[in-house]
């Protein structure tokens, strides 16, 4: 049987990917950030899953405004890294898991989530930067990846409650897949940042730290937080943090199991315009 063994939470700032690609991770600006990633990379090397369900948002690279799906699941065998305007990142092709993706689609849609199913679609920094954060620069990514795109760009975006419930539905789907697979679910984006308007550059460190605590200890309560609070307190692009709730929803404590164990946490300001957060929770089903 397949099982979700851990959830990982990670910012996906483009500059972090650029630092890896250009060999700048030892520079004064980046060193504290990447020193803090070391423990997560060691954990990832020892706990490499068969498949990662990678929750992120597209940034006008796969979807434009012609089609705006709230939840879109990547069904293909492979996903090309996108050219986002600066040229494509020199990273490996993302290899999917069509059989598990098909199983998740079947199960989750029957659980009343109206997923859009997508093939032949590029993945941008939202997907490839967390892979670089955890796996550095391998010739091929060490696991399969099922991209799950969440719309957090055009409002109305899904509520925290909806994201948490989607995670629960994904867990049920994975639990009923017959093949013996170790699956992780990664929620990405955030933490506090604002990339637009006269208020750009906003960072709220106390809020970010409290978000970590509530994410770990009381996700059901955190899921009731309104979008306007994310935006007011953590910046307009801090809203990406609702995607962390999808990953948290897939932990077994929310289905009557034991609480997950925190194995790593890292927080650093800044990368570009953003507060960077990382958290790893091991599941106990």
């Amino acid at each position: 049987m397949a099982r979700i063994s851990a959830s990982v939470y990670s910012s996906h700032v483009p500059l972090i990917g650029a630092a890896v690609d250009k060999g700048l991770t030892g520079d004064d600006y980046f060193k504290p950030l990447f020193d803090g990633y070391r423990a997560g990379r060691e954990w990832a090397a020892e706990n490499t899953p068969d498949v990662v369900i990678l929750v992120f948002n597209d940034h006008a690279n796969a979807f434009g405004l012609d089609i705006v799906p709230t939840f879109a699941l990547g069904m293909s065998e492979t996903f090309e890294p996108a050219d986002e305007g600066w040229g494509s990142r020199p990273v490996p092709l993302v290899v999917g898991h069509p059989a598990l993706a098909a199983h998740i689609a079947h199960s989750v849609i029957r659980a009343d989530f109206d997923l859009t199913l997508v093939n032949n679609i590029p993945v941008d920094h939202g997907c490839t930067v967390p892979l670089s954060v955890m796996f550095d620069q391998p010739d091929t990514w060490p696991c399969k990846v099922i991209p799950l795109f969440i719309n957090v760009v055009q409002y109305p975006i899904p509520s925290g409650r909806r994201c948490l419930e989607l995670g629960k539905a994904i867990r049920q789907a994975v639990d009923s897949f017959d093949d013996d697979l170790d699956v992780q679910i990664w929620g990405t984006g955030g933490m506090s940042h604002q990339l637009q308007g006269q208020r750009a550059g906003l960072i709220n460190q106390p809020w970010d730290h409290e978000f970590f605590e509530r994410m770990i200890n009381d996700p059901e309560d955190l899921a009731t937080m309104e979008h306007v609070e994310y935006v007011r307190e953590a910046g307009s692009e801090g809203i990406e943090l609702v995607m962390w709730l999808v990953a948290r929803g897939a932990m077994s404590d929310l289905a009557g199991g034991a609480a997950p164990t925190e194995v790593h946490r890292h927080y650093h300001v800044p990368a570009s315009n953003t507060a960077v957060g990382q958290l790893i929770l091991e599941d106990h089903s």
């Binding site: 405004l65 705006v68 040229g87 409002y155 906003l202 309104e226 570009s272």
Partner: protein
């Protein structure tokens, strides 16, 4: 009765909702087209000709020509789409983002290293009653 938009009282922030997206459809699809290298080349070679291929308003085209990102967003642009205009110019995100604020790129980068812009005094429109950060900075510099 209009739609509930509780985010309208956050200063210096434009939420890209369905109304903004409707106003900015062509503007954003123009900007998104710049993810293709050949389109970046054509835009750089003849900006006006490239802009005229898109059914955008003259106001939107002017905002693009001026690289006035606050105006671009007010006219329906979204930052992830429109950052590709900056990318085409060879700008990074700090340069694009800082252009919307009271700071130049160098000062903005330093502000971020120092912990970023505090949310204190920046949560509600009424807190900016005496002007946005750029207006306040200008007053301070004038003494």
């Amino acid at each position: 009765m209009g739609l509930d938009k509780p985010y309208l009282d956050i200063p210096g922030t434009i939420i890209f909702d369905t109304d903004q997206a409707s106003m900015g459809y062509h503007l954003n699809m123009f900007a998104m087209s710049l993810k293709d290298a050949e389109n970046r080349r054509r835009f750089t070679a003849d900006e006006n000709a490239y802009l005229d291929e898109w059914p955008m308003t003259e106001e939107q085209k002017d905002a693009v020509r001026d690289r006035d990102f606050n105006r671009i967003l007010a006219l329906g642009g979204n930052i992830y789409f429109c950052a590709k205009i900056g990318a085409t110019d060879g700008q990074n995100y700090v340069e694009i983002v800082s252009s919307m604020t009271e700071n130049d790129a160098h000062a903005h980068k330093q502000m971020m290293i120092d912990g970023g812009r505090s949310p204190d005094g920046n949560r509600y429109l009424h807190e900016w009653a005496d002007g946005d950060p750029a207006a306040r900075k200008e007053r301070e510099e004038r003494g």
